[in-house]
Symmetry: C2
Subunit: 329 residues, 2 copies
Amino acid sequence: MNIYDIAKEAGVSISTVSRVLNNKPNVRIETRKRVEAVLKKSDYAPSSIARGLVSKSLDTVGILTIDIRVPHYAETAYILERELFKLGYNAILCNTGGKAENGIDYITTLMQTGVRGVVLIGSVFQNKYIETSLINSFSHIPFIVMNAQLSADNIYSVLLNQKHGMALCLDHLAEKGHTDILYVQDAETFSGTNKASAFIELSEKRGIADAAERLFKTKRGVEGGREVIDRILESKRKFSAIVFGDDNSAVGGMQRLQELHRRIPDDVAIIGWNNTKSSTLCVPYLTTVDNQNEMLGIISVKLLENILAGGKVSRSISIDSGLIVRDST
Amino acid sequence: MNIYDIAKEAGVSISTVSRVLNNKPNVRIETRKRVEAVLKKSDYAPSSIARGLVSKSLDTVGILTIDIRVPHYAETAYILERELFKLGYNAILCNTGGKAENGIDYITTLMQTGVRGVVLIGSVFQNKYIETSLINSFSHIPFIVMNAQLSADNIYSVLLNQKHGMALCLDHLAEKGHTDILYVQDAETFSGTNKASAFIELSEKRGIADAAERLFKTKRGVEGGREVIDRILESKRKFSAIVFGDDNSAVGGMQRLQELHRRIPDDVAIIGWNNTKSSTLCVPYLTTVDNQNEMLGIISVKLLENILAGGKVSRSISIDSGLIVRDST
DNA sequence: TTGTAGGCGTTATCAG
DNA sequence: CTGATAACGCCTACAA
């Protein structure tokens, strides 16, 4: 069932059918009605592929993420997909596993299949070589990067203001009377390093002289959180509150502290980050920074929409985070 | 840059380029080399869209899920996507939100865009009307349903043997000396009801007369788990072990029991289901049934591959689950 | 072994 | 307002 069948059935030419299909002017109302009637009863749907051959692109958008299994990314991908679909785009999911070579493979095939745009969730690419390669090869379509920083004519970024989130943490802890606050960084990603430097900068602004020494690094996940606690205790550094760069390490840290009979929040206050499920699976529930996934996703798609519509858009959008206060502080 | 450009550059016709591109025979080795050289230095990639117009389909596969944010689904989607990509297919992600109308919309556009097949993760469609509609309209492409039961000529299912998982739970608890075992069902999905009926059947087989009364229902999530504990205690029913249909409700149940000063596993043994992150975010770590997501995903894609290759395949594949014993039993 | 020509289902450009 | 007809980029008989 194609456009010829419809045309024959309606007794018109394919041009007329095409006009009706695409709501173009210059069709007598009467003719339009006749064609529409045929259309309705024929459960005909135009081939996206054939359309694509003309327009040189499909109504698809690539979503690149390191790993959709990370809840934080899954949430973003969910919003993106839903918003894109509302606009008539299908989302092509790509899990790079953090490997640049995979990323290149994905981008290459995405281009081959004619995506309208690509959204990168987080720091999918870490190195400048890839960045440049993207720019040079595929400058005709827009790339939206969320919570990462890349620069090129066709790259737009939507970011969460991590510094603002850190300020919320420090303010909140200060109100609770804490002065000895540590920060645990669990990732060397764009947002990971961003948060860490925000911690140092804001601490110093608050008159903390040895801010850099209050920064501890560990590996990702619950284990990372447990392990860093032991190192912190070994260091003999005084502390009454710890901010973690992610909920999972925060949960691990809390577990370990509790094993060592420190009460949360009485002995130590804990703040996590990302407002993941984990933050309400632990006892006490975790105070955590909300990274506004939903808002970021909606804005990203809106931005893409505007770009594709040829409108004027800003190259970088930043939004504030929020602090969700629960029982761990 | 298209096939004509390559042809001109190599001094051959487009047919020859096409033959080289698709590794077809009947090309003089020397000619092939020449074309390949041009291909290499031109960073040319054939348009999937144009190819699609000929083959009437793109190398894409739709992945339908209710909500990618559910970790269990995200894990499956991850494996599916990775395996599909290895085979040269792009995965189109669809979150139906559990609404049949959305499901229909998605399927419709997927067909329009010429997917090779569709994989449904879990019970994406609940009603028979949709099922039939699928069958009638799109019988030319295969649908793989994971952990759900639908029947039509073009539907293939890959399922986890839930009964086997339940048997593992009951065996394990029996070994630990438990005789008063309850089951908490948290979903009315295909697998949810499957597990529940397996519980009753297997309990009866073990001589439990009032098995049906040992089944409690609750809503999904941590809250559901907490809430059902109160109802269980109100019911005055004796119990020393509870199996939950999902880790999250198990965690909730555990939390509530601990608040009421029941020790896990000394006073009550707890088993969860799905081996999610939650099961190692709680204390004690949760014994849980592994639903073999990875294996199911790999098998699903393999099955699809065989179907598309026109091979003989079985209409339904079932695999056994495994029990991961941790500290809650 | 190679090339020519037709077709895949649309959209777009012209004539009428 | 409507209808031929030429792209779009590739594959595939069929010819040479």
